[in-house]
């Protein structure tokens, strides 16, 4: 007798599906900021050691991305933006992402410890834990301040890069953290103002939904005000210099102006011109962070004050 069985499992994933689990676009930001943190540090690092350090910091970031996709697979399936991710699209099973995330996290932490130092490795482990557990599992679905908390996870890479070179934390690395940390809320809330429906549908508390859009506008402006002094302060430290300072002054003035314009608009005005100002400020926020770190990089190369 012959049995014919139809195997109805998940379609086998391709290699690129596993790469997609690591959130390559987030990783590129991690690579850039961690590299700047390592480059501007006052300790010379062998180029290959620096390369490996950045690689394993990025891999740790990728691991937390995979853990995030594992835990958020239910809400990813609901939101348009995330429906094509490997797990909701049915190309990778949830357990695979969990396994990949844990294994890559362990490998990246151990390798960073061997490549650079164990302080940086512990810092990386803490970052993965913070993003995957504190942010994704605990706070993301619980509080509208989730963006603020998540921003901290995104702000650690330059500190880890700095720790790889110096083995510690100083005011410069704390200020690089503050730059990303206070930049994240206005960046994401500007996006949330013109990308409406998704988070609500998924049941993730976003400030726009829980406290209303006028409150969100006030928060955006307030954070641009808080952010500016930290950006300027960073320019006064050992890694700052004339170039960075010029860039910081111009960009912070522009960002505060953008926050003010967002604050002054009513929802009707925004709908009337298709959220033109909000979109412009969101785009500005991307340049804001990129140019600040690029300025730090160039300043480190040129020498500071």
């Amino acid at each position: 007798m012959t049995d014919i069985n139809a195997y109805d499992g998940a379609p086998e994933a391709e290699f690129r599906d596993y790469v997609a689990l690591l959130k390559p676009r987030v990783m590129s930001l991690v690579v850039f900021t961690a590299f700047v943190g390592l480059w501007v540090a006052p300790v010379d690092v062998h180029p290959f050691i620096a390369f490996c350090s950045i690689l394993f910091i990025a891999l740790g970031g990728g691991a937390s991305g995979a853990l995030n996709m594992w835990y958020d697979r239910d809400i990813d399936a609901v939101m348009n933006r995330t429906q094509s991710r490997p797990i909701p699209a049915g190309r990778v099973e949830g357990g695979e992402a969990l396994g990949l995330g844990i294994v890559l996290a362990l490998i990246s932490v151990m390798m960073l410890g061997l490549v650079a130092n164990w302080f940086a490795a512990g810092f990386l482990a803490f970052t993965v834990f913070f993003y995957a557990v504190v942010y994704t599992i605990w706070l993301k679905r619980w509080t509208p301040q989730n963006i603020v908390i998540g921003g901290a996870a995104g702000a650690f890479p330059p500190m880890i890069g700095w720790a790889c070179a110096t083995g510690g934390i100083t005011i410069e690395s704390l200020l690089m953290f503050a730059l990303i940390f206070f930049w994240t809320p206005p960046h994401f809330w500007a996006l949330a103002l013109f990308m409406k429906e998704d988070y609500h549908k998924a049941g993730v508390p976003m400030l726009t939904v829980t406290h209303g859009r006028p409150t969100t506008r006030r928060h955006i402006f307030a954070y641009t005000l808080v952010l500016a002094p930290f950006a300027i302060w960073l320019g006064l430290t050992s890694i700052g210099g004339p170039l960075y300072m010029a860039v910081a002054v111009v960009l912070n003035a522009a960002f505060i102006r953008g926050g003010w314009q967002i604050l002054r608009r009513s929802e009707d005005q925004a709908i009337a011109d298709g959220y033109a100002v909000e979109k412009r400020v969101f785009k500005l926020s991307l340049y804001y962070l990129f140019l600040h770190f690029l300025a730090l990089l160039l300043q480190g190369w040129m020498g500071g004050w």
């Binding site: 086998e12 994933a13 690129r16 596993y18 290959f48 490996c52 690689l55 061997l114």
Partner: protein
């Protein structure tokens, strides 16, 4: 329906196998290169081996040792 020697699932598997192969080989190359760099830098190359060795014990202060030898 004619049997095709290569089902679509095989190309998916190949992409995974080749990808993983490249990743593992790169990792081996990376660890080797790292070893070369670390050795060239003269980093610590001995770990604790369950018994004290001179190369791992802290260097004692030179002065007391001299004083002891003088007695």
């Amino acid at each position: 329906m004619a049997l095709r020697p290569e089902h679509e699932i095989h190309t998916r598997r190949r992409s995974r196998n080749v990808g993983l192969g490249i990743v593992l080989l790169s990792f081996v190359a990376l660890v080797f290169a790292l070893t070369v760099v670390k050795v060239q830098q003269g980093d610590m190359m001995e770990a604790f081996d369950h018994q004290p060795r001179v190369s791992l014990t802290p260097v004692p202060d030179a002065a007391p040792a001299l004083a002891e030898g003088g007695q």
